[in-house]
């Protein structure tokens, strides 16, 4: 079959899937057109398809998914606008969530405070000074019930930025759902649950890599049976990028981590086509607009090849890389904070043009403190303007076919493959992390960037160029310093009010199960959570069994 024929055959196949998709998700408008009345087609393709069109680009919703994972992309439905929020107490955060939902946000995204993320109760001495600071403090099921008060869990999808104790927080979410009468099978959302990037870049680890990987595969297996609609991991390049990596390193290291999770899941006996469709990714969007858009396209192409050619997954849903994007926190400046609104808009647009499934836009004041309500609203409005006013969502993969973007996409892909192969040679991502390989590469890139900024080779507006001497200081959000004391009291109250025998019994059973690597810990953790055992108690039980990771 000639290339032209192959092209039209694939196009026809795509058009068939478009028809099916539209039946389920009708397009947003009957007719799309520009302000001048020029019709906007669903997809633009080359007049004379080149030899490699199908191999490198394909059609949206078709292997290798360079042009997007759905046949109609944003013509049917915008990406999920998901603003990460959380601070102080569960009650305060609940108010912010309800506010954001009223403002048109379509998914929740929970930020937890550091003690919760590292498995300490608010009254643990390790938690001093940190309670409720970078996110909400969750000690027990009691806090989780407050967090989702009057928010029906069958109606929202919730993303939780939680890693080392992901199993505990997911069990709390299941338990809250049950109390609301929602079947776990109806729950939708994502837990981050990506421990490898914690060792590489973010630092909120608890256990050594091996038991951590066990917890992760336990969650995969449990959710396959009980929470089939839940994304069981969000393999995150975001933090790798924030730690200073380049765009190429971001996707290379993230996909290498993805390979490690696939290997761990396969080793635990799971079937590739069972768990692969529930893997999700999380990327960053920085300022270099075209490189960022190309990065997302390259990542999709690489992952589909890994899944199809390396792991022989049979289901197309296993080949699709679905991802959430957050604009780059480290690109924001404390100086002239309003400029950050513009940076965020550019970054968000690159993510949309790169085909993201959901998006978080940072607030202008994040280089100074947690966002105020006003800043959070501007950040959300930024997405809504891109969606509703810019027309960027009216055709699929608008940058496809650009000489520049296609060339960047190819180049990013080939450079990322070089890294992936290097990590394979080191024995995979777990070994590479243990040897500090990725950490060193990232540190070097971070240092180079800093030197370029200081030498003026790289311009940062408002920081090393176009500086203003007298700046007005923006209003900042203050986390109530009293919160720590009241949260400590609350967790102590939970301990006195629960059935102590039952809590004790659950923790003992969990300890025994943890000692046997063949046992799935999820049912034990769920029982403990329901008995109001705290995050700290559950994690301490596992610490005793698994030991703690102390960095390298």
């Amino acid at each position: 079959m000639g290339k032209e024929q192959e092209f039209s055959a694939n196009k026809q196949e795509w058009e068939k899937t478009v028809k099916k998709t539209i039946q389920r998700y009708p397009e947003r408008q009957e007719v799309f057109e520009t302000s001048s009345g020029i019709p906007i087609h669903r997809l633009y393709t080359p007049k004379h398809p080149q030899e490699e069109y199908q191999e490198t680009l394909g059609f949206p919703g078709q292997y290798p998914y360079t042009r997007g994972i759905q046949p109609t992309m944003y013509r049917s439905r915008y990406w999920t606008m998901r603003q990460y929020a959380g601070f102080g107490s569960a009650q305060e955060t609940n108010h912010r969530f309800r506010y954001l939902l009223e403002q048109g946000q379509t998914g929740l995204s929970v930020a937890f405070d550091l003690p919760t993320q590292i498995g300490y109760d608010s009254d643990d001495s390790m938690a001093d000074g940190e309670v409720g600071k970078v996110g909400v403090a969750i000690d027990s099921l009691h806090d989780m019930e407050t967090l989702f008060d009057s928010i029906p869990l069958d109606k929202v999808s919730t993303s939780m930025t939680i890693n080392a104790p992901a199993s505990v927080l997911l069990c709390m979410y299941i338990a809250v759902g049950e109390k609301q009468g929602v079947d776990p099978a109806q729950l939708t959302g994502t837990i981050q649950n990506d421990i490898l990037k914690e060792y590489i870049a973010r630092g909120t680890y608890i256990f050594p890599p091996k038991p951590s990987m066990r917890l992760i595969t336990n969650i995969f297996a449990y959710c396959q049976e009980e929470l089939p609609r839940f994304n069981t991991i969000s393999i995150s390049g975001y933090h790798i990028r924030e730690a200073g990596s380049t765009a190429v390193q971001e996707i290379a290291f993230t996909l290498a981590n993805g390979i490690a999770y696939v290997e761990a899941a396969l080793a635990s006996g799971l079937d590739i086509d069972q768990f692969a469709p529930r893997l999700a990714f999380f990327f960053n969007a920085h300022n270099q607009f075209f490189e960022e858009a190309a990065k997302f396209r390259a990542a999709r192409r690489i992952w589909s090849k890994i899944m199809k050619e390396r792991y022989h997954a049979k289901e197309p849903t296993s080949w699709k890389l679905r991802f959430h994007t957050q604009t780059g926190g480290s690109t924001l400046t404390a100086q002239q904070a309003n400029n950050n609104i513009v940076r965020v808009a550019l970054q968000a647009l690159s993510a949309v043009l790169g085909g993201t499934q959901s998006l978080h836009t940072n607030s202008r004041d994040e280089a100074l403190s947690l966002p105020t309500e006003e800043s959070a609203r501007i950040a959300l409005r930024t997405q809504q303007i891109i969606a509703n006013e810019s027309g960027a969502a009216d055709t699929i993969d608008p940058l496809g076919g650009s000489y520049y973007v296609e060339s960047l996409t190819d180049e990013i892909e080939s450079r990322a493959w070089e890294y992936i192969e290097k990590i394979d040679k080191l024995g995979g991502a777990v070994q590479a992390v243990e040897a500090g390989y990725m950490q060193r590469e990232i540190r070097q890139a971070a240092y180079e960037t800093q030197k370029k900024i200081e030498s003026g080779e790289k311009t940062v507006v408002g920081l090393n160029q176009f500086v203003e001497e007298e700046e007005q200081k923006p209003d900042l959000l203050k986390v109530d310093e009293e919160l720590e004391a009241s949260q400590k009291q609350a967790v102590q109250q939970v301990r006195t009010e629960r059935d102590p025998m039952e809590a004790d019994r659950c923790l003992k059973k969990l300890a025994a199960a943890a000692a046997d690597p063949g046992i799935n810990l999820m049912p034990y953790i769920l029982q403990a959570v329901k008995a109001y055992c705290t995050v700290g108690e559950i994690c301490n039980t596992l610490r005793k069994e698994f030991g703690e990771y102390n960095g390298i």
Binding site: L114, P115, Q117, I118, Y120, M126, A127, D128, G129, E130, K133, V134, E198, R202, G203, T204, E242, A243, G244, S330, T333, A334, Q335, A367, L368, S369, L370, R443, A446, Y447, Q450, I453, E454, V460, L463, K473, L476, V479, E481, N550, G551
Partner: protein, 272 residues
Amino acid sequence: MKQIRVLIGKAGLDGHDRGALVIAQALRDHGMEVIYTGLRQSPEEIAQAAVQEDVDVVGLSSLSGSHRSLFPRVVEALRARDAADIPVIGGGVIPAEDIPYLEGKGITKIFTSGASTEALASYIKRLVGSASVSPKKIAHIGIAVRAINKSLPFYQDVLGLEVEKVEMVDSEQVKVAFLRIGETRLELLEPLNEQSTIHRFLDKKGEGVHHLAFEVDDLEERLSEYRRQGIRLLNETPVAGADNSQIAFLHPGDASQVLIELCQHQETEGDK
């Protein structure tokens, strides 16, 4: 000059250590010895390490908002160990209005995001007294002469100054004679050939005062600081000068038409 020792600490649970790592590397590049204590250190552990390692300064980094409670606790922990003389500086995501509070609690200085590592390094050097902001003294006054032998009798016999040494400086193609006068010296410069800048000077202006040389600490640091301030440098990097020194010239246009040489003598460079 002894090598500056810095401890970089991450107090509390915050795992974002890009800033801490970048700063550690930058300070090392400035010739300092840097001890990074890693993640999740308690204020007591940081103070303990600072005392044990006998550091000159402690740098803390925080992006989680816990600086208000954790930074002062490091200061207290140092006091409890009779080490209140170790200054504590901090950086990270720290709102401007928290700075007076922290300074009131004994934190010596806060660097907020966007501060350059260059500025941080020179601040630390000043803080621990190993670098003076201004040049220390006039190392010598350079005088261009056609022939040292002909000029010497006045300085040596009439004024009674003592010739300290005579040497050739290849980089400038000159022969120089140093005469001590108090804590400074006169440097008579005689061109060795027509390529020498001194030869051109003599052609244009005749004999006379050619330059002032200032003794500085850490010549490279001074050069990069002046470069940042837009001062024109005739030598972008130090070159070998007379009397076992490293030197660099500044453009006279920025100094009221006086040619200024910065020099750093080897014996003051320390164990870098």
